[in-house]
Symmetry: C2
Subunit: 296 residues, 2 copies
């Protein structure tokens, strides 16, 4: 077994420890960071994710308030709740769990959350600040988490060729925003590929850092990876498997077994990017609490 794994669990645990210490310091000043989770409907994956976030918040001393709305909730009702949470000074962060029911305009919802409470980093003003290099906004949790993985694993981004597979609003685009900036832990030459890209294989083979966030099971094969490259797997894909207890198993966007021997460093999946998302959410919540406190 080659020891080239980027241990997301261990790095996330280190960040959680830092966050817990920050919460402790805030509690001494009489401030308890508080985040509101909003879940609409009973999507099983959403229930699991929100449950994990609640548990971690409790563990770190962060207060969380869960609002569960029925699937039939209208957009107007959801926006009314968000406006109430926006106005509530005891709430520092607001997270609306995606996906939302189809009759609700997701962009509208993300735009309604106050930018200063937008711990998910999805509000256009935070998206814009990230691209502009203005560090006062919130960074979306998954790309923010990948950035921490790179930094804490000693992966040099300065002058590196970074290829991002996937141009989604949650991972691909903000990831590009982070790594193209001027400054330490950035300064990368960034290429964004997607379903319409030609010669993806040869573009990937030029990457010093390859970040796969396409949502295509085991898309990245061994012959697409430059020997020694860092490979980050963001994908969570369900594939049918008659031998698996549930009839399916989860795989990433990277053909891990084939790519690991070639990669310089690689994230396992699970246990790579996944744990980082929640770590960054907690970190963002504490930051929101500090910001709110500075403004009072």
């Amino acid at each position: 077994m080659i020891d080239n794994l980027i241990d997301g669990k261990a790095i996330a645990a280190a960040i959680h420890e830092e966050t817990a210490r920050e919460v402790e310091a805030l509690l001494k000043q009489g401030i308890q960071p508080a985040v509101a989770f909003v879940r609409v409907g009973e999507d099983p994956a959403s229930k699991v994710y929100v449950g994990m976030k609640e548990k971690m918040a409790a563990k770190l001393g962060i207060k969380s308030i869960l609002h569960i709305l029925p699937e039939s909730t209208s957009e107007a009702e959801l926006l009314t709740l968000l406006n109430k949470l926006n106005a509530d000074r005891s709430v520092h962060g607001i997270l609306v769990q995606a996906p939302l029911p189809k009759h609700i305009d997701q962009a509208r919802v993300f735009e309604t959350v106050l930018p200063d409470k937008d711990v998910d980093g999805f509000h256009p003003v935070n998206v814009g600040k990230l691209l502009l290099g203005d560090t006062h906004g919130f960074v979306p949790c998954t790309p923010g988490g990948i950035h921490e993985l790179l930094i804490r694993s000693g992966v040099e981004t300065n002058g590196a060729n970074v290829v991002i597979l996937g141009r989604g609003n949650i991972v691909g685009k903000p990831m590009a925003s982070i790594l193209m900036q001027k400054g330490p832990h950035a300064n990368a030459t960034v290429t964004i590929c997607h379903s319409r890209s030609r010669n993806i294989g040869s573009i990937c083979r030029d990457a010093d850092i390859l970040i796969a966030a396409l949502g295509v099971a085991e898309f990245v094969k061994a012959d697409m990876v430059k020997p020694g490259a860092t490979v980050i797997d963001v994908g969570v894909n369900r594939i049918n498997d008659a031998n698996a207890p549930k009839g399916y198993r989860l795989v990433g966007d990277v053909d891990f077994n084939a790519v690991q021997p070639i990669a310089g460093k690689i994230t396992p999946n699970p246990g790579g990017v996944g744990p980082m998302t929640i770590a960054m959410l907690m970190k963002n919540t504490v930051r929101a609490a500090k910001m709110a406190n500075l403004k009072q």
Copy 2:
């Protein structure tokens, strides 16, 4: 002489004609689009640019109001003026001419202009919307103009390799945002290069469309261009020239004479990108007037 020029003057003229017709239609409804120009100090280039914008507005039937503030204006004074213009319903668009004096925080200024009046497209919320693929925001004029040049010259972006030289907030970053989107006239594989990039030459040679916005005189040489590629030159650089009447001449980021014979299509400079910026500004102003009218 090879006839591979992208005629920015002619394309800008066509857009101005469309804009004039839209203004005419609005005037019939009793609406005159109005834009406020704000100039701080007496920077000679700024005076020329604002003068050109005023003249073009007048020609198209757009009302413009020029506010000239002294170099010594404080940031607070400038923000007070902007807030007044934000509140003034007879003003549809606001443009603050850059560069601003050094004692004024430019980001703060751009954030103060109401997003709905931000005809320059510099407010973070408009920057964010552009990256997210939300078409309700304003597109910055220079990259928006380059996009029109590509569309109206029949340059296919779908699946094309686009290399952007320069990661500035005014051109490079929003240009990438436009061309990486899903959809017609976009869908490109976008790479952003900058001063820290390695192997720029070989990256450029892979480009089907090469957009130079680095601000380095004649940086793009013939051996950096793939035969048949489209080359867009955004640069305006002053180089010393004892034989020129003013002791200097203006050149682009592309070594035009060397690159033209190789390029499939190329913008002259001047006469390529330059005229498009003002055309898009006028177009944005009319759009702002329409949006304001819809909201009333």
